[in-house]
C-alpha cells in the first residue's frame, strides 16, 4: 500500500540513483533544460519567461544558459505567442510556450482550437504542430481573480490536442519531456498548488513518463478513486481516512493524461472494485468527469455496484479566495462521496 510511483518503471529505479530532490516547478525547469540540451530545436517563449525566469520561476536560469534566441520574452499577447509558435512548430522548431495562468489562455484559444488542433488533419499530415503549451492552473493559492481557473475540459473536448496534467515532480519532468517529444500539440497543465508543496526524487537525466498512461498510485479492493493534478493529494488523503475509519480500501488513479484517457487502467480497476468516485476541481457540468462516467458505462456497466459519484467544483465562476476553500473539493467532501457510493 502507499505510493508506488516507480513500480511501473523498473529500469528507472536503477537510474534513480542519479537523482535530486526537486519540487514540481523545479522538475519542470529541469525537464525544459534537459530537452534544450538534447535538441537545439527546442525553444521556450512567453511573457516574462526570460529575464524574470517566469512568474513562477519555471524558466529560471534558462536565459543565462541558452541565450535569448532560445529563451524568448515575447510581447504581451497570447494569440501572438501561440499563433507564432504554431508557425515555428510547423517549420522545424519545437516551441514550448508558457501562458502565465490558464485563465489567460483565452486570447490564444482560437489559435489552439482552430489551428494547432487541426493542422495535421487539414493538411492530411503534410504539416504538423509539435508544440507544447504550458500553463499553471487551479485554485487554492489565494491568487487574484481569474488566476484559478481549471478549464481543461475546453481542450479535452477538442480533437487534435493532448491534455496532460502532472501531479508530482517526478511525473512533471517525465511527462513534460514526453510532451515535447510528442509529434502533436500538447496542453501541459501545471497544478499551481502543487508547485512547491513537496520535493521528490527526480532522475537527473532524460526519462519519459508515457502520455496516455495513468498512474495507479495506490491499490485497494472496494472502490476506485479517479483524480488528476491538484486533486490527487486530497483524494489520497480521503482514501486513507476512509481506510482508517471504515476499512474501505481504494484504488487511487492519477490520470496524468486526460487526452487520451488511459481506458485500460480505468476499466480494469472498475471491474475489480465496482464502485467509483471521480474528483475534479473544475466545474461539474460538462467537466472531464462526465466523459469518465460515460466511458465506464460503455466498458464496465455491469460491474458497477453503485452509481458513480462525482466530487467537483460547483457550477459557478471560481470565486475569489475568501470562498475558494468552499469551492474546492475538500478531503471531507471526497470522503463523503466515498461514503455515498459505499453505502448505496
Amino acid at each position: 500500500m502507499g505510493m508506488n510511483l516507480l513500480q511501473h518503471d523498473k529500469p528507472l529505479r536503477d537510474r534513480i540513483e542519479k537523482s535530486t530532490k526537486l519540487t514540481l516547478v523545479q522538475a519542470v525547469t529541469d525537464g525544459l533544460k534537459t530537452m534544450m540540451n538534447e535538441d537545439p530545436s527546442v525553444i521556450v517563449l512567453g511573457e516574462d519567461v526570460g529575464k524574470n525566469g517566469g512568474v513562477f520561476r519555471a524558466t529560471d536560469g534558462l536565459l543565462a544558459e541558452f541565450g535569448d534566441q532560445r529563451v524568448i520574452d515575447t510581447p504581451l499577447a497570447e494569440a501572438g505567442i501561440i499563433g507564432t509558435s504554431i508557425g515555428l512548430a510547423l517549420n522545424g522548431f519545437r516551441p514550448v510556450a508558457e501562458i502565465q495562468f490558464l485563465g489567460f489562455i483565452y486570447p490564444g484559444f482560437e489559435q489552439i482550437v482552430a489551428h494547432a488542433a487541426r493542422i495535421r488533419t487539414r493538411t492530411s499530415g503534410r504539416y504538423t504542430v509539435p508544440l507544447v503549451i504550458r500553463a499553471p492552473y487551479g485554485a487554492g493559492i489565494r491568487a487574484p481573480e481569474l488566476h484559478s481557473d481549471s478549464v481543461e475540459a475546453y481542450f479535452f473536448h477538442t480533437p487534435g490536442i493532448k491534455v496532460v496534467v502532472p501531479s508530482n515532480p517526478y511525473d512533471a519532468k517525465g511527462l513534460l519531456i514526453a510532451s515535447i517529444e510528442d509529434p502533436d500539440p500538447v496542453i501541459f497543465l501545471e497544478p499551481m498548488k502543487s508547485y512547491r508543496s513537496e520535493r521528490r526524487e527526480v532522475p537527473t537525466g532524460k526519462y519519459t513518463v508515457a502520455l496516455g498512461k495513468a498512474n495507479l498510485v495506490q491499490e485497494g479492493e472496494d472502490i476506485t478513486l479517479i483524480a488528476w493534478g491538484n486533486m490527487v493529494k486530497p483524494t489520497l488523503e480521503a482514501a486513507q481516512k476512509m481506510e482508517k475509519e471504515k476499512r474501505y480500501t481504494a484504488d487511487v488513479i492519477d490520470l496524468r493524461t486526460l487526452y487520451p484517457l488511459d481506458r485500460e487502467t480505468i476499466v480494469q480497476s472498475v471491474q475489480k472494485t465496482g464502485r467509483v468516485v471521480i474528483v475534479h476541481e473544475a466545474q461539474r457540468t460538462g467537466g472531464v468527469g462526465t466523459e469518465l462516467i460515460s466511458l465506464i458505462n460503455d466498458e464496465a456497466l455491469l460491474y458497477l455496484r453503485a452509481p458513480i459519484e462525482r466530487v467537483t467544483g460547483y457550477d459557478v465562476p471560481v470565486p475569489l479566495f475568501s470562498l475558494e476553500d468552499d469551492y474546492l473539493p475538500s478531503v471531507a467532501r471526497i470522503a463523503d462521496g466515498i461514503e455515498r457510493v459505499m453505502g448505496f
Partner: protein, 365 residues
C-alpha cells in the same frame, strides 16, 4: 484609383516619435509653462493634491495590509497617481470608466469607496460593486479586454443620444494584445466617444516597453486608426487633466475617439507577489522620485503662493483617519457567505446551481 499618387518607392520606416512630443503644463520643478499659466487654478490644484495624497496613503496602507496577511496579493500604483487622477477628474459624473487591477487611484477619485477596493483584494466579489449611479466597471484582470467594453459602452451612449463618454485604462503591455487594436479600430470605424487612456509605466511585469514594441511611442499608434493620439507627462496631473478634458469634450461634441499615452513610472513591484530586482535596477526607480507627481503638485502650490502648511497637515490627518476607518470597516465585515458564489451566476438560479447551493450550505452545519 484616386488621390495622391507617387512614383517613388521608399521602404524607409518613418519615425514618428518627433510628432508626439510630451505635453507638459507643470515642470518637475513645479513651474508652470505658458499654457499652464492659463489653466492654473489654485482650487483645482488643491483638489488634485488631495486626491493624489489620498491615493498614495491608501496604496501604501494596502501594501502594508498585504504584507501583514490582512488582504491578498495587491497591485500597487505609487508613482502613477497623477495619470489616474488627472484623467478621472476630467470626466463628468455620469461618464464611464473601465479600470484595470492597478487603477484604484482613478476609481477612488471617480467615487469608488475604499472599503470596496479593499474588499476586492480581500478576495471578495462584493468589492466590484460600485456606488449607485456610478459607472465604474470592476477591475479588468485579463489584459486589454476592457478596452472593447469601453468602446461598446460609449457606442451605446452615442446611440442613445446622450453626451456621456467612456474611458478605458490600460498599460503599455496591453497595447500588444489584439483587443487593443480591435478596440481602436471599432472606435474609429463607428466614431465612438471613447478615450483610450494608456499609462505607460515602462514595464509589463519584467518586459521593458522597448522590448514590448518597436514603435517609439504609444500615442503614434493612433495614426493607424486615423484618430487623435497625444502623449502627456503622466506625472503632471494638470497636463493629464487638461488633455483628458479636451479629449472628453471632443468625444461629446464630435463623437471622436482619442488615444492618450501618459508617460509615467511605477516605483514598486508589479504586484506584491513580484520581485522587481530580478529585472530592473531599483536605483533607477528611486531616481524617478525626482519627477514624483505628489511632490510636483506641492512645488506648484508653493511656487504659486497657494500652499498652506496647516491645511496640508490637517488634510494628511483627515485622510489617514478615512483610511483607518475603511480598514476597520472591512475587518469587521461579516464573513464571506458561501451563498454569494451561487446567487449571482444567473438572474434566476438554474436547478443545478440551486441544488449545489443547498448542498454547499449543508456542509457548513
Amino acid at each position: 484609383m484616386e488621390g495622391f499618387i507617387t512614383q517613388q518607392l521608399s521602404l524607409e520606416a518613418k519615425r514618428q516619435e518627433e510628432n508626439f512630443p510630451i505635453y507638459q503644463l507643470v515642470t518637475p520643478e513645479g513651474e508652470l509653462t505658458d499654457d499652464g499659466e492659463r489653466i492654473y487654478n489654485a482650487e483645482l490644484v488643491r483638489r488634485m493634491y488631495k486626491h493624489v495624497l489620498r491615493a498614495r496613503l491608501f496604496d501604501r496602507k494596502a501594501v502594508n495590509l498585504q504584507r501583514q496577511g490582512r488582504i491578498g496579493t495587491y497591485a500597487p500604483f505609487e508613482g502613477q497617481e497623477a495619470a489616474q487622477i488627472g484623467s478621472a477628474m476630467a470626466l463628468d459624473e455620469k461618464d464611464w470608466i473601465f479600470p484595470t487591477y492597478r487603477d484604484h487611484a482613478a476609481t477612488l477619485t471617480f467615487g469608488h469607496s475604499m472599503v470596496h477596493v479593499l474588499l476586492y483584494w480581500a478576495g471578495r466579489f462584493e468589492g466590484c460593486i460600485p456606488p449607485q449611479g456610478k459607472h465604474i466597471f470592476p477591475p479588468a484582470v485579463p489584459i486589454a479586454t476592457q478596452i472593447l467594453h469601453a468602446v461598446g459602452a460609449a457606442w451605446a451612449e452615442k446611440m442613445k443620444g446622450t453626451a456621456q463618454v467612456a474611458l478605458a485604462y490600460f498599460g503599455d503591455g496591453a497595447t500588444s494584445e489584439g483587443d487593443f487594436h480591435e478596440g481602436l479600430n471599432f472606435a474609429s470605424v463607428f466614431d465612438v466617444p471613447v478615450i483610450f487612456f494608456c499609462q505607460n509605466n515602462g514595464y509589463a511585469i519584467s518586459v521593458p516597453v522597448e522590448r514590448q514594441m518597436r514603435s517609439k511611442t504609444i500615442a503614434q499608434k493612433a495614426l493607424a486608426y486615423d484618430m487623435a493620439g497625444v502623449r502627456v507627462d503622466g506625472n503632471d496631473c494638470l497636463a493629464v487633466y487638461h488633455a483628458t478634458k479636451m479629449a472628453a469634450q471632443r468625444a461629446r461634441d464630435e463623437q471622436e475617439p482619442t488615444l492618450i499615452e501618459a508617460v509615467t513610472w511605477r516605483y514598486g513591484a508589479h504586484t506584491t507577489a513580484d520581485d522587481p530586482t530580478k529585472y530592473r535596477d531599483q536605483k533607477q526607480s528611486e531616481e524617478r522620485r525626482k519627477y514624483d507627481p505628489l511632490l510636483r503638485l506641492e512645488k506648484l502650490l508653493r511656487g504659486q503662493g497657494d500652499w498652506d502648511d496647516t491645511w496640508a497637515e490637517s488634510l494628511h490627518q483627515t485622510l489617514q483617519q478615512e483610511i483607518e476607518q475603511a480598514v476597520r470597516e472591512i475587518e469587521s465585515y461579516p464573513k464571506a457567505d458561501v451563498t454569494h458564489m451561487f446567487d449571482h451566476v444567473f438572474a434566476v438560479p438554474t436547478w443545478n446551481i440551486r441544488e449545489q447551493r443547498q448542498y454547499c450550505q449543508s456542509l457548513l452545519k
